[in-house]
């Protein structure tokens, strides 16, 4: 580290941190991106499959390729990096700036000073404990992402025959990776009546290999003394309890959990930012500012995105907002926005009425025809028709400036 005083310090060198850092550095702000890993790119480095970048780079790339391009952009823009470095504490000082404590093997403990902080730490995986799967505690139980890192970064096979619990995209991608690595995949077991992952991943990762997907089915036990020996699963009754009379066993030596992601919010909590229980991330306004002025958040630490392309777009916008903040721009009058019927969350939580706002929603229903409504004082003041709604796919809606004059609740009506 050449200097210790920055306009912006960004926590995390994944897609979000790199995209925001590029914009800040291009605008002439001194920018430092801190990451505890030894290389930039975050989780993209272990996602060696293709399918990234179609939207952001108009080209199909693998994770490491996407990471490389984002890193090069940030470097060319003049962003600096502190790698192998962990932020262990952040405090807001009386003048509104920040004191950031960084720990690294090379420099020991360093204190940085910054005028703005960007939270771009991404997510951690939910694991077996998070969904309280009963049974014994043998070796051979991994989160899908851990198995991905073992296989793709360390070249280690996690087992010989596997069952995947949860049909999130990481689990689906891992089903194909295991098969391509000579490991048998016995089944993917999903508790919901629909896959949690993108349809195209169900096709190219499960159908291509004739891997059965059990929907509305729950894992009721993992058995094994030293190593996993079998998984016991049962279809759900209509009240969503497992029907144990129809339970079935699947022999395997490995179980992967792909049951969702949790924003990594420890640093945000040290700053006291207001959290959104529906996303597990921070509450933000339309400038991606959290409840603590000068602290911004974007990417998967804000809410879990379907595609890294959306992460990069969102963080790029957040980067512009950080630059505006640093030059002292004001956001103007704000209203609140909330998620109503058939929506799990709406982002941002507050918006400036005088500016166009891009709202993001996570639907809770599967439907092919729906209308998204913005309700102000019980009346619909803005509507958008939607042709394709799935919980695995985020809804993006641009609302023009001066459209919403009041606190708004968004609702999704099935047609």
């Amino acid at each position: 580290m050449v200097r210790l005083d920055y306009d912006v310090v960004i926590a995390g060198a994944g897609a979000a941190g790199l995209a925001a850092g590029t914009v800040c550095a291009q605008a002439g702000c001194s920018t430092l991106i801190v990451d505890r890993e030894g290389r930039t790119g975050g989780i993209l480095n272990q996602c060696i499959h293709n399918g990234f970048g179609l939207r952001y780079f108009k080209e199909e790339l693998t994770g490491p390729e996407f990471a490389y391009r984002m890193s090069e952009k940030a470097r060319h823009a003049g962003a600096e990096f502190a790698l192998n470095s962990a932020i262990t504490d952040i405090k807001q000082l009386e003048d509104g700036t920040f004191d950031i404590r960084v720990l690294s093997g090379k420099d020991g403990v360093t204190h940085l000073h910054a005028r703005a902080v960007m939270l771009a730490m991404g997510c951690r995986e939910r694991n077996r404990g998070a969904i309280a799967t009963p049974g014994e505690r043998p070796a051979g139980v991994f989160t899908a992402g851990t198995a991905q890192k073992l296989l793709n970064c360390e070249g280690k096979l996690p087992g010989k025959s596997a069952v995947i619990v949860g049909s999130g995209d990481i689990g689906l991608i891992m089903a194909r990776r295991l098969r391509w690595s000579g490991i048998e995949v016995k089944a993917v077991i999903e508790i919901m009546p629909h896959s949690a992952g993108l349809t195209r991943n169900v096709v190219q990762c499960l159908h291509d290999f004739d891997i059965p997907l059990y929907l509305s089915t729950s894992v009721i036990r993992i058995d094994g003394k030293e190593r996993v020996e079998k998984v016991v699963a049962a279809p759900l009754n209509s009240d969503r309890t497992p029907d144990t009379s129809r339970a079935f066993e699947i022999e395997c030596d490995t179980v992967l959990f792909s049951v969702g992601l949790i924003p990594e919010m420890e640093l945000a909590r040290k700053l006291g930012v207001k959290e959104n229980p529906a996303t597990g991330g921070a509450e933000v306004n339309s400038a991606y500012s959290t409840s603590v002025p000068g602290v911004f958040s974007a990417g998967n630490v804000l809410h879990v995105h379907d595609l890294v392309d959306f992460v990069a777009e969102e963080a790029e916008y957040a980067g512009k907002c950080i630059v505006d903040y640093l030059v002292g721009a004001k956001t103007g009058k704000e209203f609140s926005s909330a998620a109503g019927k058939n929506l799990k969350y709406a982002i941002p939580n507050r918006f400036a009425a005088a500016k166009a706002t891009r709202f993001l929603f996570r639907p809770t229903v599967v439907t092919d025809r729906a209308v998204l409504k913005a309700m102000v004082d019980g009346k619909s003041v803005w509507e958008k028709k939607l042709a394709f709604v799935r919980p695995a796919e985020m809804i993006i809606a641009e609302v023009a400036a001066d459209t919403l004059h009041g606190d708004v609740t968004f609702e999704l009506e099935e047609l």
């Binding site: 480095n45 060696i48 499959h49 293709n50 179609l54 199909e60 693998t62 994770g63 490491p64 390729e65 490389y68 296989l151 793709n152 970064c153 360390e154 070249g155 391509w180 993108l198 349809t199 195209r200 169900v202 096709v203 190219q204 159908h207 291509d208 379907d306 595609l307 394709f388 796919e393």
Partner: protein, 115 residues
């Protein structure tokens, strides 16, 4: 009649393909990519293959690679076998070829990171 799901984009259109004369009649697609996908999938299904290969650098023992174009499905097991058994000589940089023109298919394998 064959039913398939388009994987060209996240919408996942459910396609129906029927023989009409010498060619397939594709319905259910919401854009031209669906028709192209269905025809390719029914006559010569292909996938981009990604994998990790061993390297000669002990500090970076594995490197991520991919085919530079979709590869016929029948070729995939043999290709993977070859990739796992071939040691990549370092240094290499993003986009360098490790295997050119596999079995005269005009498909090559490139590395996707710098080592």
């Amino acid at each position: 009649m064959r039913e398939l799901i388009c994987i060209s984009c996240p919408q996942g259109c459910r396609l129906t393909a029927e023989i009409s004369g010498d060619s397939w009649l594709i319905t259910g697609n919401r854009c031209p990519r669906g028709e192209a996908y269905a025809k390719q999938e029914l006559t010569d299904p292909r996938r981009v293959v990604t994998a990790v290969m061993p390297t000669d650098d002990p500090a970076h023992p594995f490197i991520a690679v991919r085919t530079d174009a979709p590869c016929p499905k029948a070729m995939i097991p043999g290709l993977l076998n070859k990739l796992y058994r071939t040691v990549v000589k370092t240094p290499v940089k993003n986009g360098d070829f490790v295997i050119k023109n596999i079995d005269n298919s005009e498909i090559s394998v490139i590395v996707t990171e710098n080592i």
